[in-house]
């Protein structure tokens, strides 16, 4: 939209700043989880309980206590300081601890538990690798097969095409709600339990119908002359797809690819049931298993969540233009 049009669209008062205010407020709320993840991941449980909201100040307190058994050396405990202690100094606790001898505060960069992030990478790294593998191969295979299939329906009205199309469309209406139960047994009989291939294959099967539906509509709208010209030049069907369909359908394929990728990336129901070995876990299952411990080590968990969020952010920052353009194109098509 041009600037001139913007002047016309704006309210009579012609001011943008209330909108900016609202948008920024909402964005702050949206970005808050990311902030929490980052600042908690650098703490351990004790300092998190002391100070949940603000980042940890780089100060620690050394406490010396008398040993419970006489004759033993004094117990030294180093804990993190709170912001109030940094500003105002250390105050005595409400319930006095008779064993406490002294408490001193000092500057200490060691309060930032970077080890949490390192551990997080070690734990989540493999999960990310597995998920990338499953999501990318699944998306690629799914879309390739969908393009082929859509081409079949869109190019010519082959005999029995109507029946086959009906087979696909019926699946659009049938919600595969109860599928997961016999699917589990089917995978077991095929020997596919506890493999990543099962995830890829089922992912492909699941997305085919929608992808073929959208792509068929798109390919049908392409002008026939392009195809005929290519055919005149002696191109086989595959070459026709390559030269005609792919370039023109790039935005829509991009959108479908992104939707498929996101779907596979976030899936956890099937991997939860199918995968047994820790090495094969995808991100979804891995994160659920992280949630398990009784007394949660929040620092480590938040570090793992933070690292789990990063790959997608990076991928999308790189493919941002493609993403936004693709979605808009797809949306206009309805």
């Amino acid at each position: 939209m041009s600037a001139a049009l913007k002047d016309a669209v704006g309210s009579r008062r012609n001011r943008d700043w209330p909108k900016h205010l609202v948008l920024i407020a909402i964005l702050c709320i949206e970005l808050f989880p990311l902030y929490m993840m980052l600042q908690v991941s650098l703490k351990d449980n004790a300092s998190f309980i002391q100070n949940p909201w603000l980042p940890q100040p780089p100060y620690a307190v050394t406490e010396v206590r008398r040993a419970p058994v006489a004759g033993q050396p004094d117990l030294v405990n180093i804990r993190t300081a709170t912001w109030t202690e940094v500003m105002d100094g250390i105050t005595p606790a409400l319930v006095p601890d008779p064993a406490l001898i002294s408490a001193e505060k000092h500057f200490d960069l060691g309060v930032y538990r970077v080890g949490n992030l390192v551990k997080g990478v070690k734990i989540v790294g493999p999960y990310i690798a597995n998920t990338v593998f499953v999501a990318l191969s699944g998306t690629f295979l799914s879309l390739s097969l969908a393009i082929l299939g859509a081409y079949f329906f869109a190019r010519y009205k082959m005999p029995f095409a109507g029946v086959l199309w009906g087979a696909f469309m019926l699946l659009m209406l049938l919600p595969g709600v109860a599928n997961i139960v016999p699917l589990f047994t089917l995978l077991k009989d095929l020997g596919l339990l506890n493999t990543l291939s099962a995830l890829i294959i089922v992912g492909i099967a699941g997305g085919q119908v929608f992808n073929i539906f959208v792509l068929r509509n798109f390919i049908e709208d392409l002008p026939k002359d392009l195809f005929e010209a290519a055919e005149m030049d002696g191109a086989s069907h595959l070459q026709q797809i390559k030269t005609v369909v792919l370039p023109l359908a790039a935005p829509i394929i991009g959108t479908l690819a992104i939707l498929a990728f996101l779907g596979k990336w976030n899936d956890f129901l099937l991997p939860l049931i199918v995968l047994r070995d820790k090495e094969l876990f995808t991100l979804g299952v891995g994160l659920i298993y992280l949630d398990g411990e009784y007394v949660k080590q929040w620092g480590q968990i938040m570090a793992a969540y933070f690292i789990a969020s990063i790959p997608l952010i990076i991928i999308f920052l790189f493919c941002m233009r493609l993403f936004v353009r693709g979605l808009s194109a797809g949306a206009v098509k309805g």
Partner: protein, 525 residues
């Protein structure tokens, strides 16, 4: 001009690199799995608590040193997902060689796990050099593996697993706070003293403006508390009125008696149990039944509560995360001299029947059952049990293992009377009656509690609930009978059927039928 194509190349390049890295990673997993000609053993369990994983790691390292051709892998599964995980792995036949047995009944145990009876009478070779040398494996356990047998093989009498540890329930108290309130850190011993302590804490709160809660509690742990308190009131009743004349009352016995109208919550022992529950809840925080274990733990660790009734499995966390000293004592129960509750009590209870913890069994689909058995023997040897006890602060089930060094109070008290039974129908199949009990409990408890209101609310729907539950029990028993049919058929059609094998199954089937038929005839004609 050349900038544009480069710009669009970068994301594709990045994607390509990332994909290549992931392919390499997946391929390397495959390589590791296929390469090894070692025997790989997998052990899946839910024990992620402080010290348990580390203890397993130590044991595994030790074992792998002894047997270099074996490699063992731990698969820890969070307890929230454990039931689903176990069920899907067993059905899908991808279960690890050894798994923990939790929320598993005889049907699953019998179908998917190897019976260990034959090995239980052989001595454990890893006990050589200890006082347990030459002792049959079964007898190296504190309760002779009876608890596991009762849990997993009550009908067939088969042994499907061994328990490495046992649990007890204990009242933990904050020494500093107790001293601040009463001047000494000696815990209460009888229920009357506990009540008095509650009053002292209230006085302290009024005096200093603090908001201390006597006992930190939550939904699940409050049930433990009630089910330890209430049986003290049904002790005498169980001995005097047991329908099967075996000093105890089974859930089915209780259900049929209630349905027939012979017993009800107006029966003195039961009503007294409810009264006791109501009185003890005045010592707990408001809304406790809605809290979770983490909340109760948090309240205690933050020094908002003076005491905490929890399991011996929690001790490790209290020691690790609590900045104060925690003392351990048994829950103070009403004694015979108690004016209000004493007349239903027989005496202090024995914890010999204990509750088994860390039960491990060998799955039938294991490729190396002998190695798995050997590792189980290793885990339950005296030496390794001592390591577990030290590292995880839990009580081992192996005879003679010293309790965790800093908490002797966690060990079970073996001398005492037979215990009573709970009155909330926890163990009745179907769970409807129990659910009605729990859902209406808030009427009886707390300062506004009215027992009659509660009893009326529960008893309106009780007949229907009991019927549904008994129907479910009968259905389950019928399924068991059918299963035993096929087992019997298999045993009898072999060329040389041994009476020792099939007579036990036949007896089990008869017991089940005897349990089932009266229910069906009386309530579902």
């Amino acid at each position: 001009m050349t900038r544009a194509p480069f710009r669009s190349l970068v994301p594709h390049l990045v994607l390509g690199l990332v994909f290549a890295w992931s392919c390499w990673h997946v391929a390397s997993i495959r390589r590791v799995a296929v390469d090894t000609d070692k025997v790989t053993l997998r052990i899946g369990h839910w024990m992620l608590h402080a010290g348990m994983r580390e203890s397993f790691d130590l044991a595994i390292t030790d074992y792998q040193k002894l047997h270099p051709d074996v490699s063992i892998e731990q698969i820890p599964v969070p307890i929230r997902s454990y039931a689903m995980w176990l069920r899907t792995r067993l059905v899908g036949e991808t279960a690890p060689d050894i798994t923990g047995l939790a929320a598993v009944g005889e049907e699953i145990a019998g179908r998917y796990y190897l019976p260990l009876d034959a090995y239980a009478s052989q001595p454990n070779p890893y006990n050589s050099g200890t006082p347990l040398e030459g002792v049959p494996w079964r007898d190296t356990f504190v309760d002779g593996l009876e608890s596991v047998r009762n849990l997993l093989g009550p009908v067939s009498g088969e042994l499907y697993g061994v328990n490495l540890q046992i649990n007890t329930l204990r009242l933990y108290f904050n020494r500093n706070l107790l001293r601040a309130v009463t001047g000494s850190d000696a815990p209460p011993v009888t229920f009357a003293e506990l009540r008095a302590l509650g009053d002292q804490i209230a006085a302290y709160n009024a005096r200093t403006g603090a908001k201390l809660v006597p006992i930190a509690s939550c939904g699940p742990y409050s049930r433990y508390l009630f089910n330890t308190l209430v049986p003290s009131q049904t002790q005498r009743f169980a001995v005097e009125s047991s329908p099967s004349l075996n000093l105890s009352v089974s859930p089915q016995d209780m259900a049929t008696a209630f349905l027939r109208g012979e017993w009800s919550y107006a029966t003195p022992a039961f009503r007294s149990g409810l009264e006791l529950m109501r009185e003890v809840t005045s010592l707990m925080p408001p809304g406790f039944s809605q809290l979770e274990r983490d909340d109760a733990l948090f309240a205690y660790l933050q020094q908002q509560a003076v005491m905490f009734y929890a399991g011996s499995w929690d001790y490790g966390v209290l020691v690790r995360d609590g900045p104060f000293q925690t003392g351990v004592t048994s829950l103070p129960l009403p004694d015979r001299d108690d004016p209000k509750y004493g007349r239903f009590v027989l005496g202090p209870i024995s914890e010999a029947a204990g509750s088994p913890e860390a039960i491990l069994g060998i799955t039938r689909t294991s490729r190396h059952p002998e190695v798995a058995l050997d590792f189980l023997r290793f885990l339950s040897s005296r030496r390794i049990a001592t390591t577990f006890s030290r590292e995880s602060h839990r009580i081992s089930s192996v005879v003679g293992t010293p309790p965790p060094p800093d908490a002797p109070g966690l060990a079970p008290v073996l001398n005492g009377e037979v215990n009573g039974f709970g009155i909330d129908f926890t163990y009745l199949a179907g769970g409807n009656t129990n659910r009605a009990f729990q859902n209406n409990l808030h009427r009886a408890l707390g300062p506004k509690g009215d027992l009659d209101d509660f009893i009326k609310a529960v008893e309106t729907t009780m007949p229907e609930n009991l019927r549904r539950d008994l129907a479910q029990a009968a259905f389950g028993q019928q399924r068991e009978i059918r299963r035993l049919d096929s087992q019997l058929a298999f045993a009898l059609t072999r060329s040389d059927p041994k009476p020792s094998e099939w007579s036990r199954l036949a007896e089990a089937q008869s017991i089940r039928q005897q349990e089932r038929l009266p229910i069906v005839q009386e309530f579902f004609p």
